[in-house]
Symmetry: C2
Subunit: 152 residues, 2 copies
Amino acid sequence: MIRIGKLTDYGILILTHMAQDEARLFTAQEVSLAVGVPLPTTTKLLKTLVHGNLLDSQRGTKGGYLLARRPDQISMVDVVTALEGPVGLTDCGTAQHPGDCQRSISCAIKTNWQRINQAVHDALAQVTLAEMRLPAVHPVHLPASRANLLRV
Amino acid sequence: MIRIGKLTDYGILILTHMAQDEARLFTAQEVSLAVGVPLPTTTKLLKTLVHGNLLDSQRGTKGGYLLARRPDQISMVDVVTALEGPVGLTDCGTAQHPGDCQRSISCAIKTNWQRINQAVHDALAQVTLAEMRLPAVHPVHLPASRANLLRV
DNA sequence: GTATACAGTACCATTATAGTACTCTTTATA
DNA sequence: TATAAAGAGTACTATAATGGTACTGTATAC
């Protein structure tokens, strides 16, 4: 249920690593090695995170990436939004009756989904990168699931 | 970000429809027509919902499906869990260091993910099928996103 | 006994995701 | 000012999950 992609997982790993030394400039190669994610994938993620305004980049010989804000100013919504795309909902109605809100009950449902969405959004907003560095209060070990997916 | 599949969306549509007449027996065909989802897909979903103990089924000529519990006793976690699979997390560590919790920071992150997971879980648990029948307090219309995905 | 309706399973097509490669631009420094 | 280091941008491919369908089996009312 409710999935978060591998790349987002990596992205959080990357940001958490960089948060260890929050003002430092990291090269893509450094990050790749530290986190254990292949360089091409790492660079791709770093670029995306720059686009999402979570990282600043510096080009040239002594270039690299660094956090755009302090770790406690970066929440998981920011990260997930940057890596998985914008918040949004499907069009109203079913496939058979697109946009036909009056005809079906689906529109009322969609608006209710937004209630849920908001709750999920808030949940993600509450956790910052700074907190992710710390161990959870009650660490629990759940059994592994299939195929490297984070299933919430 | 955080996606809910089309089938889950349909499933909620189906359950919401059946909740209109909560003690009645519905045939798969009836449901299919009412909700506007093709019969094969509808039956697949109905079967899955029976497995998830959200519906009871009755075989034979006068058979059909009905809600296993009252609509206010069925939450969105139940539905989403039934249709998208069990709650769980990936294995600890990165692809390079599977299960190697000490070596990397990822394990601490995973346990923190569970905090988020719990929040999401709670958010879904708070909304019941009974509530889904009602219009939201503040209905908002967000722009449509791509490819029939519910993006939370 | 037969028609109806659900149960179970296995399969195929589509699509999103993950991952990679290649070319271009910027900048420090020798 | 030439060069090498490092990021920017884009486009492509393979894999895997999802969505959708078909087929065979089983129960039950009339």
